[in-house]
Symmetry: C2
Subunit: 352 residues, 2 copies
């Protein structure tokens, strides 16, 4: 399926180099994608020129402004409406593209996404969903930081959106969905989590709702979809990042501790580099902003070309699987998605 | 300084073997400690008899009952008052010991501790404080799970208690204290966290209050004391445990992936075992229940003899450093700790 993706190429820490390289990598293997690139035209032309054939696959839309990592969401809303980030989102709103991607600052991207695209019908709060590695298979976790405080209805909506992504992005037929809690008994934890559990039990979703899991079960892969408020999800994600960094740095120290260990390292080098690559963030780059009238993917600011390519592939997958239509259908089981759409309720990019 | 420690030796997964072994290890290196052991007398006598000289260092108090890992806190309060766990806590309350230790179930131990020892004057909610490894030095983090929801005053009290432990247990003169948040700017995160920050800035504590840190900064060692509610702390701790497990299991897979890698493993074995030992939970075993009229230390249920010994040493350190007196003095800077004590406000074990 042909698709057009709008990309703010000015967002990353080393923009636009890694962005353009990632786009080129995906363009080669996926001939049905076309790209609209938003940012400084001269810079973009120079980067695009380095990759043979890429200029035929992109349209460049010059934007004077771009959002910096330091810009607050409020500043982005007041002053950033002509930025490359806002213009990429407008392309989705106006039907010129089916998804937007940016490696720019998360708060600004969420604020502009909500302003430009509006919330999906029936969703109180958009959330940030990410794909995480576990000991067995990758899983979806949300919210990773959009909403510091959530009520039970927010959590239920996150579960509905999360299971759609688990099916469409990770290919799980009947995803195991769990609420993150500090114990697995029914009476444990916070009230909004217990209420959300009761509601999810009542609902008729195509999922295997397994109740509560504790945080050590996230990496054990006990659930395909882990649901929590954005404060908790952000803490869990960043704790995991910190621990991976700590263990790999201690491992390095261990190998440098003696000559014998150094020799051992040389022999194990290939295996260790495969070990590191399973934890490589670029393999799982791309957080999805779910609950908006359009597909928005946030790349890590420090993503390499390969990492940015992962985010582009994710966006293409979400477009082709019509992720938003599915969410609408499951939030409103009484009316089919197509009915909801023809009612004019939805201006979702995915349906254009 | 001579001290008596009351120990519920029936709490661990393999009780009382690891408990008695840990006690013996500490008894050998610390001749001024005496132990009161609570549990099944015949079992304890048999275990104690295996270690030469240990019987002179312990008093055995027979208890028919003990709390199981499955017992709910409410059951422990209703039916567990004659258990070895409750009796060890009563020894602290009655001045027969200066600290209590149990490897039994956390919820039951906290419920019984609050019932038997009562809260420390000026402390709204006791918390669970743990010592965590980082890339540089060990740090204190609290609350690790006692309170699923906290207000700003709870967080402030956790900060006051945490810094006392950082000074007395970890030897930090002027500990860097931080509130865990999802961003470092003043306007970020939850209201109670922002309010606690404002209050900690106003207070005249012997600390370096560094404001907010994000979760990846925990293992980076940016703060000596990390303060958060018990839900967040529990999620962070268990996420970290899960990630350590995942990385070590993937590392093992990497070494088993080829003959060359296996040879490399053999050569690096010593270094790798040192690497694993830095992450060994027994090195950091022992969570402190802070905010009670008495020192209570919770050992991990699966702790080895060595791990249980770490918890015993921690309890002895807290007793000798008069941790609770210091907390009282800093919660009530207007009256000295000794005045608070002579006023009869406090029945703290540490002051007997």
């Amino acid at each position: 399926m042909t698709a057009v993706i709008a990309i703010d190429v000015m967002g990353g820490d080393n923009a636009p180099g890694p962005e353009i390289e990632g786009i080129w990598q995906v363009a080669q293997s996926d001939p049905d994608l076309h790209f609209r690139l938003y940012g400084k035209e001269t810079l973009i032309r120079e980067s695009v020129g380095r990759f043979p054939g890429l200029s035929d696959r992109v349209d460049i839309v010059h934007c004077d402004q771009h959002i910096t990592p330091e810009d607050k969401p409020s500043y982005a809303l007041r002053r950033g409406r002509d930025s490359s980030m806002a213009k990429a989102l407008e392309a989705v709103r106006d039907g010129k593209a089916q998804a937007a991607i940016s490696a720019g600052n998360t708060g600004a991207l969420m604020a502009l996404s909500m302003y430009v695209l509006k919330r999906l019908e029936g969703i109180g709060r958009p959330a940030i969903a990410g794909i995480l590695p576990t000991t067995s298979h990758p899983i979806v976790m949300l919210d990773l930081g959009a909403n510091a405080v959530c009520d039970s209805q927010n959590l239920v909506e996150f579960a509905v959106m999360g299971q759609v992504f688990a099916r469409q992005v990770l290919g799980r037929d009947r995803p195991r969905v769990a609420l993150l809690n500090i114990g697995i008994e029914e009476a444990k934890g916070r009230e909004e989590i217990r209420d959300a559990a009761a509601e999810l039990k009542r609902m008729d979703l195509p999922i295997d709702f397994i109740g509560f899991i504790e945080a050590h079960d996230i990496t054990a892969g006990r659930a395909d979809v882990v649901v929590c408020d954005g404060f908790t999800g952000n803490v869990a994600l960043k704790t995991a990042e910190g621990v991976v960094k700590m263990t790999t740095s201690r491992l390095k120290d261990a190998f440098l501790s003696s000559w014998v260990a150094k020799l051992g390292y040389l022999l194990s080098k290939g295996a260790l580099s495969r070990f590191r690559s399973t934890l490589d963030p670029s393999l799982h780059n791309g957080a999805m902003f779910v609950g908006l009238n359009g597909i928005v993917v946030k790349s890590h600011g420090a993503a390499t070309g390969e990492g940015f390519g992962t985010a582009v592939r994710l966006a293409a997958k979400l477009v082709r699987n019509r992720a938003n239509e599915r969410i609408i259908a499951e939030m409103h089981p009484d009316q089919s998605a197509s009915a909801a759409i023809s009612d004019g309720l939805v201006a979702a990019s995915a349906v254009r």
